[in-house]
Symmetry: D3
Subunit: 338 residues, 6 copies
């Protein structure tokens, strides 16, 4: 059954050098508009839900282009504010084999989203309009203003009985020196409000400062995630373990923890076309499972397959339909579909 989902987060302009050239070799950039919330809503729209983005875009041609790009993905635009001067930009140079891809950020601090004044969003009203709202840890790292706005919105959602979804999405480069200590209280505030959380054992250890004597990732996960869920009264916790192979292939295994028990997906190994944004596809799979009442094993399998597929499409935003994900779960290697 179709649900109304909102997401609060920054829209980035992605400027990608096509093919395999470096910025110092090329002359063209492919542009698109993305972000963690954008990716989640793009996926959920393809699964039949209505998704509305809560963000702020400049009232200029770049903002117009972002708006058109979001609508093209099937995202509703009626809750988008216009103001400020610019979008955060990231340049992407694709890697190949032994050469890793590179992301270079530009102008993020001064973006329309990150400079929104207090009261820029009607959070109370927005909280009434959605069954669930997605928040992302990246926003916490930006500045006091957006961090505060995000918590205000989450509180309003919580108060009105909506689902608060929080993806920890910790990025060390955004927090700077002594970063974990800086980040911890912000993350704890959000975890207090959250119902569904995306994270894994590393977040528990580093951000939340939890301890374990276990050395294997899997064992750490089994020990720490139930503790996190208990401490913050979380309904559902989910995440992935990823392994990178040297030949352009990754392996992914998803987990979900709910009602005191774990479920795991198969370990999927696959070729990667476009790495960025695939984590949001996994998150969307979990969210869809929760909204639709999938049993946890089905949710985690669905999410892992959705995550895998997101590595095989261009751009940051998932494009697979529910049917596409089910076809992967059915498991046959398939020829061109006619």
């Amino acid at each position: 059954m179709s649900k109304r989902i909102a997401a609060f987060g920054e829209v980035m302009m992605r400027l990608q050098v096509p093919g395999h050239e470096l910025l110092s070799q090329g002359s063209l950039l492919k542009y698109s508009f993305s972000g963690s919330g954008v990716g989640v809503l793009s996926a959920l729209a393809r699964y039949g839900h209505r998704g509305s983005l809560v963000t702020r875009l400049p009232a200029n041609p770049v903002g117009d282009a972002a708006l058109a790009g979001l609508r093209r993905l099937g995202i509703d635009s009626e809750d988008i504010q216009r103001g400020g001067n610019s979008l955060g930009i990231y340049f992407l140079e694709n890697g190949f084999g032994a050469r890793p891809g590179r992301v270079t950020y530009s102008g993020r601090a001064g973006s329309s989203f990150n400079t929104a004044p207090p009261g820029a969003y009607p959070f109370a009203e927005l909280a009434d309009k959605a069954d669930a709202v997605h928040f992302c840890g990246i926003t916490l790292a930006m500045n006091e203003g957006v961090s505060r706005a995000m918590k205000t919105y989450a509180e309003a959602v919580k108060r009105r009985g909506g689902l608060v979804i929080f993806d920890c999405n910790y990025r060390p480069s955004l927090w700077g020196e002594g970063s974990y200590e800086l980040a911890r209280p912000h993350y704890e505030e959000m975890l207090q409000l959250a119902d569904i959380v995306l994270m894994n054992e590393k977040d528990a250890i580093h951000i939340l400062g939890m301890n374990t004597v276990k050395e294997q990732r899997e064992e750490q996960l089994l020990e720490l995630i139930p503790a996190v869920a208990a401490r913050y009264s979380l309904c559902t916790v989910a995440g992935t373990h990823r392994v990178l192979h040297g030949d352009n292939r990754h392996s992914l295994r998803g987990y979900i923890y709910k009602a005191d028990s774990f479920a795991f997906s198969d370990t999927l190994t696959f070729s990667v076309l476009d790495r960025v944004g695939a984590g949001d596809a996994y998150a969307s799979g979990i969210i869809h499972g929760e909204l639709e009442g999938f049993d946890p094993q089905h949710s985690v399998s669905f999410a892992a397959a959705a995550g895998m597929l997101a590595h095989t499409v261009e751009g940051d935003s998932p494009m697979a339909s529910e049917q596409d994900v089910f076809a992967v779960l059915a498991g046959t290697v398939r020829d061109v579909q006619r």
Copy 2:
């Protein structure tokens, strides 16, 4: 020695999204003109034969473009009729790894080829001009008119002593409900007329309704193909078994049955660039072998190598020269040719 080959079949306009975007992401389409007969003649022209396409194109700029495209491939255009309004179109979205490619057909039923009036082609005259003529099972599925035209042409060729080549090329999606029963009499008519037939054991079982207690594909093939050859007095029967791997690689093994015995190619495993049309390259290899009097083992090896190479070029139409195929058969892995 150069032979005169004709092919009767539809020219499709292929509209491919470049790279790996979906139709809902992109803005450009690469266009080219192809079809089963087109592919066979393109290959045979590269092996030194003269190939003439018997088809019908609209007398408008789209038809002009198709004509130019066919000529560019080295195909003679003097037997092409002009009339009707449009070409059948297919949209192609490339797959990547775990995500299969997609083909979407558009406007095929109303194409100039499929709406040709009776008498549109001078079949008697055409039958005199070719040493061999290639027909394709896809044409049988279109409508009564083209199906009838095809058989008329084949009968004329047979009557005048030309070789009738028939590629079963059964496409379930084109026949609809109860399809095998619908298709059977049409296929039987063509097999009665044919000298060289492309098919495998699945066609024997499903289209011709033959039975076997064997369970292995190879065993079924060994049992059924001789029976088919006997029933329809075929000179040569050939085909392939294909296996899809999950990582963008396919395996291909060709067989040929002639003069009461089988020959098989090695199983070739290779990376796939462009899947569509590769079957026609295999068929062309078999036809070339037959026209040149290769011994069956050489024919089937040549055809399998030609089929493999066709997966490594852009577009539906084979581009490899006889020399290119021989280089593959020689078997060394090769660096850039300077």
Copy 3:
């Protein structure tokens, strides 16, 4: 004040050869999705209204792409039906100077829109949702089914007190032999239902069979349009006179007839980048003026300026904001805007 506008009409896939090559020279096509209703809603969305398209798209990747393209233009997609197999396509080769551009249609008769079964649209419900609905004469030419559907929808709108907008948009090539007699009763039915009509004196003479002894277009217009308005009780009639110059420039003069009097725009002369769809921009300007209560002189000036600007953007769909049109009306030649 923002109004809710709907438009009923076919979505075409435009396949344009980029630059100035012919189809027989090129290898790429730029694709986009357009149509008379699409253009009108694209313009009105930029003027601040909400526009929803009532049409039928195939439930396949081509239909998905069309949906994404419409949403990107700012058009609401919630009233779009999915079904059928394909879109009508038109190929566009740009002209240059003495060489005219060429449009080649393909597969329009079998499109999802033109093959919609009776009852495909919930017209009563739709009629309740819009303040005004736009209909186009091209739809009348398609077949009995869509023609009937269109009138049903217009009647429902009329009955519920919505505005019925009808653009005559007569295309001789679509009606065939004896076309005016064939078309007349259909046009008369629509005119009986319409409030705002886009047409000029040629439509009155040819489609409606009206007579005049005047020889000048302007005189004919002044005589016939009031007669048409009276005969069909039209609130507003508007249209343009266009003159083509040999050097890639056109001249355009708009008229509006309302409350028994005419108003005319200046004759605008301008260079043309993209000719197709500019008529819909003029119509949108008139509609916007009517919805906003502009005085007729302002409406016709706004519409003509909007029409001119639509010749200066790529694609069929108007992209100018209300502010952009006002800047043209202000009349200064402008340098790059920084």
Copy 4:
């Protein structure tokens, strides 16, 4: 009625920087294959004749590409020899307004055509196959070998009663110092063999060393061309006067001299998209008129219109059909053709 035409001449590879960048700014080149003979045959094929190119291409991938390109234009390839190592290349940077375009030649001296050994072509046999053969003055400037081959071919055509067409096409940069004296005997030899000649009064004065006291180009033409025709017993002489305007427009006026009288086309003034090769379109118009028996006034008007249209298409080779040229002659400014 369709005639068999041959042309003897070099195929050049055109490497054009797309758009308006310079070679030192860009990164892509558009490639195509052209030449004076190629252009003439491309035009004549569109007027319904069969055209076969007599040239020499390298037996490597560049030669294969040239062959495919010629066939795509509708040119027959059966008389093309393969050998040597390379094609002559020219780089083209488009001009804009006050900035002229630039052509840079590369590797022409060593091309397969210009290094063909004696006996490379079966001229006697070729002379039997064509109703008329086109030769170009550029070939005379290359080297002794090709110059000799060209005359041998022209003699064979003359001997067998075919039409010899000669386009003077004098290029000062190819002849170097004291060039007119060097060129004169070669041109005289060809004029002795020719039936139809393309030239104007400048060629008479400079190449043939004829004198006149007239100062106006038109007067010089009227005096000298009859003298040339008489001296060399020419059936038809034709050519153009071109004027360049500063704003990307040219004016063209054609003349034809036949049976002791002149006919002139209107002076056509038009915008220029692609300047190179337009002279061959004019020549083709004259040749078509002669082959079809147009009266001289019709021929020269047709040729001038064909020449004008050739400035409006991409590439060196004319693409207009006879119908397209007639439409220009009919003289109405036309909107997009639907």
Copy 5:
């Protein structure tokens, strides 16, 4: 004789939508690196001088690309500092006819150049290395730091006897409210240091607050420029008057004031391909004339022709050689150069 020129200024990343699409329509951006100083040095390098840019680029892939782009233009890179995080960006949408182009700035305030710390440049050492240094008024508008740095550099150049060139380049949008008063003292400081100044009567009136009772621009110029030159002891003052026509053409007339007398170029009228940066080409022509000792009439004609040519190339940076400019001055309309 080749001189050593430096320029101090910001490098911008230009992101241009190719062709005529808007940002909300397209998917690709063409990128290049430009700026006022970049344009001047690019032009002077083509006139045979050595030009070195003094600026600050980020030490990341975007900065690497900028460096490569500057070197490609023939600009020396040894005086470029690396540091900070980003480049200022501007998005460019091309206009067409009645639709003006649009520039949207992004992230300029936080650019590496505009956030350079005090002492980032070794100005004393740099002042020793150049015969002349170019400064631009845009830099004054950025912030106190760069404004201060610029004056420090200019003082060092002055002290060591180098030429100080100052282009007023006043941009209202950069100075905000009460802008002229804000700007005046900064401009006065620079004028005190300058030898060659680019400006016109509007700068005198608005920035310097000078008065005149004349109403014609030309009369104002004749009155005010000598007064400016006298007040600030300027050696040379030069500038242009520009008129925009509605049809994509501009008119340009240059002036130079030197040794108490004026010289004017012809009024040049021409089609515009790329407007941005053409002012720097005019300035470079003046500078070249001064460095080479052209007489003022020759300088101003050269500069105007160089300015005109800069409108006919892609990108912000002039690409014409001295020979190209001389060819324009010679005045013949020219065909493709072979």
Copy 6:
């Protein structure tokens, strides 16, 4: 510590069909400028050295573009001569999997570099300007003139105490029949002058005619390279063994011989994006190690990693920084760098 390096060699224009099309399928070519010396200097510039190319480019737009391309790579252009008419060109068609890539040369014999007259370069002066000069065996194969010039330059460098680096780079196709005997004396002359030599055991056997009873490549290497080093008093000898796998992957193992002992890199196996020019990256790694005083094991590991990375970038010229190579040596498989 930054050193001054020069390289003497031809600049080729690379014309690559983008993607995987053949020349006979495509319409666009990507152009860039490369060569053995270009590649070496590009790499060394990225390692912090100053590199200046000694070559000859035509004084036309193609030469200007080459100059701009070299500067873009970070190569100094002040020692480049201008003259002659053209560049050598090579066409590149990318291979895919079982289909090898193809290189077709065009017009190399007549290039500006290969037709430089005696005295075209001031070798004595150039020898003073560089710490080390790189020479390439390909130059020996061109003609007597360039071969002589190269030795003259190498002698001047040797005489003044600079390092002479010689990469054997033997290309059988350039020497023709009886090639080894023809080549031997030239190679021996260069080896007499050289300090650092790039070669392996095959060069010793074939070019130098040395014998060995060993059958394994490794054993041959261990026996022959010390003998070569002794015979020609070489300081350092280095090279690689390459193995091609069928699936687009290569394996590479580097060796260095210095001070009587060998060091070997690991055998690296990796996917190949662009094969051409990777050998120059290995050579540059060795040269960098020698210039910086790396110990031999570090040099050979660095060179092999640099060689591997050069297979992963577009174009012939290495683009990796020293930091990029060190990151590979550190050995972790890395995700996108943010």
